[in-house]
Assembly symmetry: C2
């Protein structure tokens, strides 16, 4: 029992393949009566268009690619990805466009994978995540003519259309808030130093401190893991000049940092204020609840998907900005204790 083809339908309707093709695609060229008959037969035998055959005639693949350059087993550590995929799906699913997902181990592999996907006609476009400074993927994609959208700051995306949020503004808001509370020594536990958004946030953090008249801030770079977040926090808290506030680049590190503070018998927020970049259920289940920079990651992904689909349809696309993360003050921040 093979899949039915338009030839089967044609035979059983007593018309030619061509008539069937026109009928099923709602194109002119057949009478309404014939069209109805053909459609009825198609429905009856459970006909589906062969994606392969259509693709061979230059149709779209109806799928977009997302390669993630991280070890497969660590995909899940950060909430970010799943949220992003959620958002992307929320745009793709209603249009019946699938997401091709694959993990790769290097940017070179990633470029090669996209080249293959594109060459094989398996995807119509691609999303670029985890933008680096001087990212090798940017020139590579500029050379291919695969529609692509980058998630990250436009200055790192170069000629590739970027979907981005103003992380600098969020950092400024946070630093200004902490300074207004009376903090003077603010530290930052940042993520991977080579990521473009880390660079942006680092610069904004320094600029914000300078603008608020604070001394040069301490910044530590990590790999986003709870372990490194804890270690960085420990390092900051046992230093001679202890910061009175720490801003973390993700929620996992902030929660880990809170544990470290509690181990060291520091009261949060009296002795130490904490801010997490990216909100999550966890910033709200720990005690005290963590002040966080909230943003709609899913919307970030959805916006990128929208832009990508527009690019695939050869509509003109431009960089698109999503709202910056907003500071949501909770119980982990307050005026510093007077020593």
């Amino acid at each position: 029992m093979k899949r039915p083809t338009i030839a089967d339908i044609a035979r059983s309707a007593g018309v030619s393949k061509v008539a069937v093709s026109y009928a099923l695609n709602d194109q002119p060229g057949v009478s309404e009566q014939t069209r109805a008959k053909i459609k009825a037969i198609a429905r009856e035998v459970g006909w589906r268009p062969s994606n392969a055959a259509r693709a061979l005639n230059g149709a779209k693949a109806r799928a977009v690619g997302l390669a993630v350059c991280r070890p497969a087993r660590t995909l899940s550590v950060e909430r970010f990805f799943m949220e992003l995929i959620s958002g992307i799906e929320s745009e793709l699913a209603p249009r019946s466009i699938a997401l091709m997902l694959q993990t790769v181990t290097s940017h070179d592999d990633e470029i090669e994978l996209y080249r293959r996907w594109w060459g094989e006609g398996r995807v119509d476009g691609a999303l670029l995540v985890d933008l680096h400074d001087d990212d090798v993927r940017i020139p590579a994609f500029a050379a291919m003519d695969l529609p692509v959208v980058a998630l990250g700051p436009p200055e790192a995306a170069g000629p590739v259309p970027a979907v981005w949020s103003d992380d600098g503004a969020s950092i400024h808001e946070t630093v200004a808030y902490l300074a207004a509370l009376g903090h003077r020594h603010i530290a930052r536990v940042a993520g991977l130093p080579r990521l473009a958004h880390t660079t942006v946030r680092d610069a904004a953090f320094e600029a914000g401190c300078r603008a608020a008249g604070l001394p040069e801030p301490v910044m530590v770079h990590t790999d986003y893991s709870g372990d490194e977040g804890a270690r960085a926090t420990r390092g900051l808290l046992i230093a001679a000049e202890r910061p009175t506030a720490i801003v973390y680049d993700n929620d996992i590190m902030a929660v880990a940092g809170l544990s470290v503070a509690q181990e060291l018998s520091l009261d949060v927020p009296r002795d130490l204020s904490l801010v997490a970049w990216d909100d999550s259920p966890f910033t709200q289940v720990v005690r005290p609840q963590l002040t966080a920079l909230t943003r709609d990651i899913a919307e970030y992904g959805a916006c990128a998907a929208r832009i990508l689909l527009a690019a695939v349809d050869e509509e003109p696309v431009a960089d698109s900005q999503v709202p910056a993360a907003r500071l949501v003050p909770r119980a982990s921040t307050s005026a510093p204790q007077r020593r």
Copy 2:
């Protein structure tokens, strides 16, 4: 500048299309010399096989499907999915097989989606997650001849090959451990009641309590969210007969439950012991650290992917069991305080 085809290569090598096809697929029929020449040209012009053309000749789609029947925006709430996808990817990526991911809103849509993917030749197989009792997808898949593997208890998977872990054994181990500590009133904050693994765990929980000579346990069903976990915990703790231990069906609810206990000024573990199903970074960053049922979710996904790929290759497949979750005692469990 179009994509090069084997016809282009044939022209430039001065041979026929067929010779090129043989050469590039390492099939006999051409001399080594010609093969080398053809391969060199192919590499030079950047030729990639057209997936569509190959699929048309009955080749595999080199992709497997995963439809997830949850609102796209909530995909990220549970760590489970991302871990699962990580594990699946760890098997697929080395074989250059892609994962087609799409969220759907009902099981009927999911069946329809798979029917379409399969009919269109876009996937070679499918993974079934979130098995329900009397799952409508099981008979539907039995009717299609799409290779499929279910993640869940074999009794729910029916004729579909299942990859499963013995959740009952893990629950038994947990109940026995708590009973050995001296607990007599143990409650369970479970997940969605219609999910097959919830049914299995519920039954095992009751059986375990009976076996240990404990009174009939209280079980509350939730939607896995932190909110419902907190609410359920609150309900249990203000009841006349307060449990001295609570076992949660995921880590998020357990952490939420811990917060509720602390709000109610209960000391964990002196007044209340807590156990989380599924370990995560968060069970270890809260204080006290949570006793948890650890399992390798990624391996679960990897195993399912392996079985599916075997099924796709028409190798005989059987149900496959992955190791059950193991109890890892931490600071959230101890003997109950004598009242």
